[in-house]
Amino acid sequence: MENSQKILIVEDDHFLGDLLVDYLKKHGLRAYLAKDAETALKMIRQERPLLVLLDLLLPGMNGLELLETLKNEDIVPDLPVIILSNLSQKEKIEQAINLGAKDFLVKASFDLSEITQKVKNILGISEEEVKNIPEQPKN
């Protein structure tokens, strides 16, 4: 299956990353993992996924820096990004939303089914919008 039909999960913790991939798969959504922001950026530039679940605390480039890069390259907000982080400070949330993230979920406050529902909701909205926009050539 091409990555354009999958969710990209950017998460450096193996345990959490695998849990997310398995759960999404069990509920009809294919997903693949990137362990750091640089790898995620390469993957996104190569082939845009359906949606990105983005952790903030990552080795090397952090999640907000990745989000800013994607915004500067006009990839976001077309590409929906949901922040999934254990950071919960208001200023982080505001920063992420200002950079074009569709939502900010604090990991410890949501379970897997709630996260999956959020993903499905956002994809549902995106699909509707995409139907009405004339086809744009991909870079």
């Binding site: 345990f15 959490l16 400070q89 200023e91 410890a108 379970d111």
Partner: protein, 325 residues
Amino acid sequence: MKNNTIVFIGGAFAGGIMEGIFLWISSAYPGEVVSFSLFEQSTLLLFILLGGVASLAFSYKKRFDADEGVIAKHQGDNKAKDDLISMTLHHIRTPLTGMMWSTKELSVETPADDPQKNRIEKLHEETVRILATVEKLLKTSRENNGRSSYCFEEYSTEKLERLISESISKMKPAAYAKDISVETETSPLSQKTAKIDGDKIITVVQTLFENAIHYTKSGGGIKIRMEEKKDGFLFYISDTGIGIPPDEQSKIFTQFYRSTNAKRARSDGLGIGLFLAKSFVDAHGGNITFTSSAQGTTFIVRIPISEPNNTIPKQEEKPPTDTTI
């Protein structure tokens, strides 16, 4: 005292020896018994005294320097300890989140008639509880390190009342589950405003309400009251709980302190809820007080208010750091 006496005598002895040598050298007849004039006796006494005082002063300076060194080392050690604690808690939080997710799914997937169902549910509940504890400890660590970041906005008294009421509503089911009644009373509010960090106030309300539930027996009651007075917005929370023993009341806002009643009611508390609540209320320029007896406890939180657009003394906002854990 004993130490100081020894030091003084030692110094005095040394002073006396020095003067004796001086006099012996200055006398023209080293071999003879020297008889001292009154003047010479006085200088001898003076040197003895000076010797003693100098020795004492020197000893004090040494001790002072040593103390300063110890204090500086302690402060450095405390910061290192706090950093280590933050780092550890953050690293624990990640796998705990995974465990919370997994145990939830296990619980959902286990049929109701499975004999393991209860055990799995309990496992999940305990994981959620540990995670909540880790969050509290992290907040305390941030507070201790001066790394709590505050985000103040202007709230009307009406908005503040709504914020508190909504927090209470979310927690009412927990009270009802323990068969504790909850009553809320509000009074008319003016157009005045307050500088509020919403998340911090929610934490304060949650802490006080959770305490009220924990320390009140089944069948008891919690009363919430909000009113506006000239100098502030007041939030009262009264319970019919076990109260705080009088000789322990002065300590309850101390970090990690737990009263004997608290320990009896709940062996697993951390003693940081009230410490954090007080820190947060203080940061708003307000204060938190209480009255307590064996029939129950009432906490009163006061937040300063003023006319809209008036300058409330600027609350110091601690700058957020990029990699705040």
